[in-house]
């Protein structure tokens, strides 16, 4: 592995930790029921986003 690749890895993880810090704090403060509902909501958004990507791929191909 090249040094530039290692640097890219470190940057990516540092950025992911920084971006996720606020969300992680909010999630940690949720009750179990709130967390369950939040998980459902996020899974649904994830599926919607994947459909959006599939539609874009269909349009472009």
């Amino acid at each position: 592995m090249k040094w530039s690749e290692i640097a890219a890895l470190v940057r990516a993880y540092a950025q992911a930790i920084a971006e996720g810090r606020i969300e992680a704090k909010q999630i940690a403060e949720m009750t179990d029921e709130q967390l369950k509902a939040f998980r459902k909501e996020k899974l649904s958004s994830l599926e919607d986003k994947q459909r959006e990507a599939e539609d874009l791929a269909d349009t472009e191909s």
């Binding site: 592995m1 690749e5 290692i6 890219a8 890895l9 940057r11 990516a12 993880y13 950025q15 992911a16 930790i17 971006e19 996720g20 969300e23 992680a24 999630i27 940690a28 179990d32 967390l35 369950k36 939040f38 998980r39 459902k40 996020k42 899974l43 958004s45 994830l46 599926e47 986003k49 994947q50 959006e52 990507a53 599939e54 874009l56 791929a57 472009e60 191909s61």
Partner: protein, 169 residues
Amino acid sequence: MKKIFLICVILFSLLFNSACPKKVEKTFRKASEASANLSIYGEKLIQANIDAFKAKEISFETFELLNELTRKFVEGVKIYEKALDEAEKLIKENGGQAPVGTLERLSKIFSAEVADKFTAILAKFKLISGEQSEAIKTAVAGINLAILAIREAFAGTRDIQGGFNYEMV
């Protein structure tokens, strides 16, 4: 002497037949929190892929390659989420204790459906260290961190057999 030994065996099996409720609760909470992060970073990854393609930063082939990865990832997360719900139901029905094998099976489902598939594809396409956009690298790193958190939550899960049935969907 035999009676004492027998009592010890019974007590031992009662104590260790199901995981300690507090540990189960903690493991479950950690796995549940990290699961939310899987969906959050997964959505970010898909969005980053769409944005990079629209901005012509990546080719259609790379866009499709990542699409294939996220498609499998979303399917895996769905299966794991379903298993998480089923395990939670079982634990509630069992008075806060995990029926023997429940957590280990959940851990296996997670490994088979989410972690192993994702890390295999990740290694194949060098998604973090390769020529991808910064947003893609960050989202992939976020998913990796969530996977590590779930693996860490399940590490040391003691119970071995029984629990709910796992069927590949």
